[in-house]
Symmetry: C2
């Protein structure tokens, strides 16, 4: 067992030779797709000395149609077994995103990002989440990356989504060193210049971290990192037939990462009545009123705030 532990420690010290940056995993989140287009014309903002950077569009067909996905959410389609030739031949067609997840993984293997490289997946949200660094595992690399980026982009928040709903199926889960950069508020189907440049600034900071990691320039001093740990999704109020009967309360709207206290308003019904938070303790909501999550029965997510030594 001592030997295994020592191998793990050695691997943390290995350098990262390949980094993939993916835009357009959701086809109506334009910032990442347009940044990939920008960097394809001029890669200098994303090139570094010590590793190769690989640019990729996640869901080209959905980007073309400015839709989140064609058949199902690509960012919940990783971790499936690849479609078999049997499935391909059967009456029921393989969902486009299931095929696409397979193709993306093949490309990441070719780029040598899988298994030992790093991955940055670019997203937008209609929630007022500013710059969010979302991690589906809390490897030392990931938490140190978060601390580094937060020092350079102070408005950034680190959000650990460690439960079972996302981690095993998101694009960022295919490698250990993976981060989703979620930028909002940005409507679907729109590029907003300010958020475009702030996303690039965040990507540059993340790449500078990888560069410093590779060159052994990271300080070994411990520092404190504020993280928001996913606890549960909260659905909209619904009637007995399952139809939504209310919306985010104006007093909760846009207050992502701010404390939500027991008794605070969370929803307003179509009749104008207020529904209040009935949990026992302070929590920190995120993804408040994200358009794509209406279908996922997620009006907002509750997180708890923690401080980690990294």
């Amino acid at each position: 067992m001592g030997r295994v532990s020592s191998v793990v420690e050695e691997r943390v010290e290995e350098t990262v030779g390949h980094v993939a940056i993916i835009g357009g995993t959701h086809g109506n989140e334009l910032t990442g797709a347009w940044l990939v287009e920008r960097w394809r014309r001029d890669p200098s903002p994303v090139q570094r000395e010590s590793f190769s950077t690989h640019l990729l569009l996640g869901n080209p067909k959905a980007i073309q149609r400015v839709r989140r996905y064609i058949d199902r959410d690509l960012n919940r389609s990783f971790g499936d077994t690849p479609p078999t030739s049997d499935a391909r031949d059967s009456q029921r067609p393989v969902p486009y995103e299931q095929e696409r997840a397979h193709v993306v993984c093949e490309q990441l293997r070719t780029f040598r990002v899988i298994p030992d490289g790093a991955l940055i997946d670019l997203h937008n949200t209609t929630a007022n989440m500013g710059i969010s660094l979302i991690f589906v595992n809390q490897s030392p690399f990931n938490l140190k990356l978060a601390a580094w980026v937060k020092e350079r982009v102070p408005e950034a928040h680190a959000y650990l989504w460690l439960d079972e709903t996302l981690p095993r199926r998101s694009l960022s889960s295919v490698v250990e060193k993976g981060v989703t950069i979620e930028v909002g508020p940005v409507p679907n189907g729109v590029v907003r210049g300010e958020q475009f440049w702030r996303t690039e600034e965040t990507v540059r900071a993340a790449l500078d971290f990888v560069e410093a990691f590779n060159q052994g320039l990271l300080s070994s001093d411990k520092r404190e990192l504020e993280v928001f740990v996913h606890e549960q999704a909260v659905d909209f109020p619904r009637d007995e037939r399952g139809r939504v009967t209310g919306f985010i309360h104006p007093e909760l709207q846009d207050r992502d990462y701010e404390p939500l206290e027991p008794g605070d308003p969370v929803f307003q019904t179509l009749a104008g009545e207020t529904i209040r938070y009935d949990g026992p303790e302070t929590r920190y909501p995120v993804f408040i009123n994200e358009a794509a999550y209406y279908e996922k029965h997620l009006a907002f997510s509750l997180t708890r705030r923690e401080v980690r030594e990294v």
Copy 2:
């Protein structure tokens, strides 16, 4: 000719017996569809003494799928001749929205909104247009409605879209007394509580106007009305292959209805270069960065500001 003129004047004095309020003409603009749901449960906010109010969902199939439209834009599908049975039988299916425009007009005739009633069509935009009252004709009724609403909802703007691109094909064009209430910024696929209630407030003011009109309570004093008159659509910068190469400049973003001077920044290219407004005179841009207009080659529209006596 004197007789015709007198008939026109008499018709202005007729009362309005029927008002239709339509939500969800675009299926991903949720505010109007959810307000219709609210008022179906409790119609008291939209009932008045002197006329009947009729509630309608514009595009139920698109609302179901949270998409702007199924086959084509319903709000550009009015004014077509109804699909013939020949067309229905042919290989090429009739676009859903062409059928739907026909059905909506039939319903409006049944409600007796067509030809002599009034119509309020509810929309959302990702542009920072606040409350916009959009008219495709400048009948005295419409301009007086604008002045009345602006006195009660001071942030409202009156926008006259009188050119050939919209007026003949929009839902609000099927009657003379028609207004589109356009509320933003609201992302597609989202209800924001604040804008939900402000839309209701604006609808109530418009209905109060119809009530005062019917009861002969409108002042005959002339007053000044600020209007923004549509001049032209401005497309995104594109390369020789037609691909978009830039986005709204951060300094123009969210500045709808504010003066745009010659030389002001309007776009930023993917390379970071600034493109400036090269028109000769001050104009007032609207629909800045509306998601649905990327496909219509409309980055923003230029209007000129005028003051009318109404």
